[in-house]
């Protein structure tokens, strides 16, 4: 039995209603742990005064420079003593999950045992960077808890100016739209950057994220410094049986309004089956006895919409890989930036392909480490130095797919125009 609970009239109101309540969970933990009794008191104080009361500090595990988020209470009495003394330290361990966040019950129960013993018993699946967050631990117990997680084959994630924990979608494990092995890519890249994860020494954070298709379930385009997003470059695949099944259920109106009409590049047309183009860049599939949809793959931007609507009837092509985008981030400091294309397509099938991806990742992180200013993300660095300088620095060729439009102003020195034209022509001739 733990000590008497504090009055928590505000938090109590978060126990009613149909959604699972974290407050009820905390109260269950507080039955046995003085620690959580005071966590509840601490949180109630925030609810009452509408302010936060945790400050950072320095807590870590032996051999690493990051991965623990230290928290010390700032609710002190007039003698500078912690008011909620059992929760005076409330650190979080960030632990990297398996790619795709797959688990079995055995490993989850082991996590519970360790965290019941050494921590608060409160676990968040998962934080916004993708870590399992073991929330609430004293300074003394951080090392003990980590040692046990580490013995299970789990490792600390990133924090501070470091390569961060990554996320990848369910992908190959259970999704027909997956265009590369996200888990393999995730693991091969991240496990090659462990030194940069565990010993923060970059200008600022660097995030990788892996989404198997352009639906981008990992939100990589707006929050990853390097986003790997699956795509394909040959023709879309079709399945006549599933197309007919879809049409029988949904009909012509939905086909026209929801599929043909919503294609962003007007690459899809409804045609009489006998009039369908035989062009090599066209995919087509009959939806009934007389009509087909015809997709001009050269106009298609692989946005995924029609495939989302008619899953299985339409599918990504066979020559799959990924588009690489760099520089996504949210507001601070210069404003929101989406990642932008630096590699329109790279194959990601063989081990050599994965090595090429890793090599690119290393060139980008190295360039970032050497050229970004303190507290500057890749997107901000590219904004400051220009995309061309970045591409030259990481040895990538320019491509018209990297822009939404060419330059709209004449304010540029172009002394070497002829030499650049010659380079482009030489490349075309060599191709």
């Amino acid at each position: 039995m733990a000590k008497k609970p504090h009055d928590t009239p505000n938090l109590d109101q978060l126990e009613s209603g149909p959604w699972p309540s974290f407050v009820t969970g905390l109260k269950r933990l507080a039955k046995d742990k003085d620690y959580v009794v005071d966590v509840l008191g601490h949180l109630e104080h925030s609810y009452k005064t509408r302010k936060g009361y945790w400050k950072g500090g320095t807590v870590g595990v032996f051999g690493y420079g990051g991965g623990v988020i230290p928290r010390f209470t700032e609710i002190k009495d007039d003698k500078e003593q912690a008011v909620f003394k059992d929760a005076a330290e409330f650190h979080t361990l960030r632990i990297m999950p398996p790619a795709g966040m797959h688990y079995n019950t055995d490993i989850l129960r082991k996590f519970c045992d360790i965290w019941e013993k050494h921590g608060s018993g409160l676990i968040a699946f998962h934080g916004q960077s993708g870590d399992i967050m073991f929330q609430g631990c004293t300074t003394e117990n951080v090392q003990k808890a980590f040692d046990e997680f580490n013995e299970l084959g789990f490792d600390l994630g990133g924090a501070g100016p470091a390569v961060r924990t990554s996320m990848s979608c369910v992908g190959h494990a259970r999704c027909e739209q997956s265009c590369f092995d996200e888990g393999k890519a995730h693991r091969s890249i991240i496990n090659a950057f462990l030194d940069d994860i565990h010993r923060p020494a970059l200008p600022y954070k660097f995030k990788f994220k892996f989404s198997g298709c352009a639906n981008d379930c990992m939100n990589s385009i707006q929050r990853a410094d390097m986003a790997v997003i699956g795509t394909w470059r040959d023709n879309m695949q079709t399945d006549a049986a599933l197309a007919k099944k879809w049409f029988a259920k949904h009909g012509l109106n939905e086909l026209v309004n929801d599929v043909v009409g919503m294609c962003p590049t007007r690459a899809i047309q409804l045609k009489d089956t006998k009039a369908v183009s035989k062009d090599a860049s066209v995919s087509s599939v009959a939806v009934n006895d007389t009509q087909s949809i015809e997709i001009q793959n050269r106009d298609c931007v692989r946005c995924m919409h029609c495939i989302n609507v008619m899953t299985g009837a339409l599918a990504p092509g066979k020559e799959r890989g990924a588009t690489i985008l760099v520089g996504g981030k949210r507001t601070l400091k210069i404003g929101d930036l989406m990642g932008t294309v630096v590699v329109p397509f790279m194959k990601l099938e063989s081990d050599e392909d994965m090595e090429a991806l890793l090599d690119l990742a290393k060139r980008i992180v190295d360039f970032f480490a050497e050229n970004a200013l303190e507290h500057e993300r890749t997107g901000e660095m590219i904004e400051r130095i220009g995309l061309v300088n970045f591409l030259e620095g990481v040895e990538l060729d320019i491509d018209a797919s990297m822009v939404s439009a060419p330059r709209t102003n004449p304010y540029v020195r172009m002394d070497d125009w002829d030499a650049e034209v010659a380079k482009v022509n030489a490349k075309k001739a060599a191709a």
């Binding site: 933990l29 609810y47 966040m101 797959h102 409160l122 609430g136 990554s166 996320m167 494990a173 949210r330």
Partner: protein, 358 residues
């Protein structure tokens, strides 16, 4: 020697996920053909070879006590095949190879208070941050806001009645760790930081703080004989960027830290390109423990979207069709001068055309 006894970490990195995959998923890895959704909260995937797997998705409170996790494990062992995963929005997915297990699994989850849903055209669980529970710079709570809103949006979670999927996020400061979303709730400070000049010199690396300000409003100053920092309050945009590197520059205020609502964020490339969300409402009080004013605005936007958008239109697609004037007209939200962007690159947000809907 104490040092010699310390255990050296095994730098094992990301564990191999294959060991945690359901055998059917392991066997058909990279070889799936299509999926459908037999009912809200259930996915049915079919592999090229014909094998099938059913996934039941349940909402959680994300911040889970070990008793809750053990309960979910008990359910997974007894009613599913002991393999689970989490979605990016903290929903737990139970995979089963036998369709017959789906209904009893759903019943058991619901009996234990875990809502089954969050698939397809539903409002899924809200991506959120740490808030007062654990963050060092929060303007508000996260788990509490989410609990309050999900109580209100419960029916939309367990049904698939929206025009397309709806993704929400909350963020307890303007750093916006919750991320882009169809509808996002983000703290918006309205007053410059209050500086405790006694502490600045000892706590803050002053040049780093000066460099952090997006509008160069902070400069070193001597205050009461002590080295400190001062803020040009006319220039200050109250973003709070100075607060993390310099806690004595307190930005959070129980009264003046308000909540703003943003709409139309979209990461997916489907249809229109990925979009940043746009601010459409602000000045909402930070009204713990249930934030009713925020819930009212979010529910109103969702109601209008649900009535007005066409199938497959995300909020961004819908507004792209109807235009911003009609969005404000239909939602009744006031379009104020503060919603006209004046940050760098803002001209691209102005209407450089005669495209006007009447």
């Amino acid at each position: 020697m104490a040092q010699a006894q310390m255990r050296k970490p095994v730098e094992c990195g990301v564990p191999d996920h294959m060991q945690y995959l359901h055998p059917v998923m392991r066997k058909n890895y990279g070889n799936w053909k299509y999926h459908d959704r037999p009912r809200p909260g259930v996915l049915h995937h079919v592999a090229h070879g014909g094998e099938e797997i059913w996934t039941v998705r349940a909402g959680t409170q994300r911040q889970m006590d070990h008793y809750t996790i053990r309960k979910l494990c008990d359910i997974a062992d007894k009613y599913a095949d002991s393999y689970v995963r989490f979605t990016i929005r903290s929903n737990m997915e139970f995979m089963v190879a036998d369709e017959k297990k789906v209904a009893p699994l759903i019943a058991e989850l619901e009996k234990n208070g875990f809502p089954v849903g969050g698939t397809g055209n539903s409002v899924s669980m809200i991506a959120h941050t740490q808030g007062w529970l654990h963050c060092d710079i929060p303007g508000t709570d996260a788990s509490g806001v989410v609990k309050s809103l999900m109580d209100e949006l419960y029916q939309e979670f367990i049904h698939e009645e929206m025009p397309n999927r709806v993704r929400l996020s909350t963020s307890c400061c303007e750093i916006n760790c919750g991320g882009q979303a169809d509808i996002a709730i983000v703290i918006q400070h309205t007053k410059p930081p209050k500086i405790n000049h006694d502490l600045v010199a000892n706590v803050c690396e002053r040049p780093a703080v000066v460099a952090r300000c997006p509008v160069a409003a902070i400069r070193p100053a001597l205050v009461n004989g002590k080295p400190s920092l001062e803020v040009d309050e006319k220039k200050c945009i109250c973003c709070g960027a100075c607060f993390p590197p310099c806690p004595p520059m307190q930005i959070n205020d129980p009264e003046h830290s308000k909540l703003a609502i943003w709409v139309g964020g979209k990461n997916s490339n489907a249809r229109i390109k990925p979009q940043f969300m746009k601010m459409v409402a602000a000045g909402l009080p930070n009204n713990a423990p249930r934030w009713p004013e925020v819930a009212a605005v979010v529910k109103n936007i969702l109601r209008v979207y649900k009535e007005d958008a066409r199938p497959w239109e995300r909020i961004a697609d819908w507004i792209d069709r109807i235009g911003w004037p009609r969005f404000f007209e239909k939602t009744g939200l006031p379009f104020t001068k503060y919603l006209i962007d004046d940050w760098r690159g803002s001209r691209s947000n102005l209407n450089a055309s005669t495209h006007i809907r009447f």
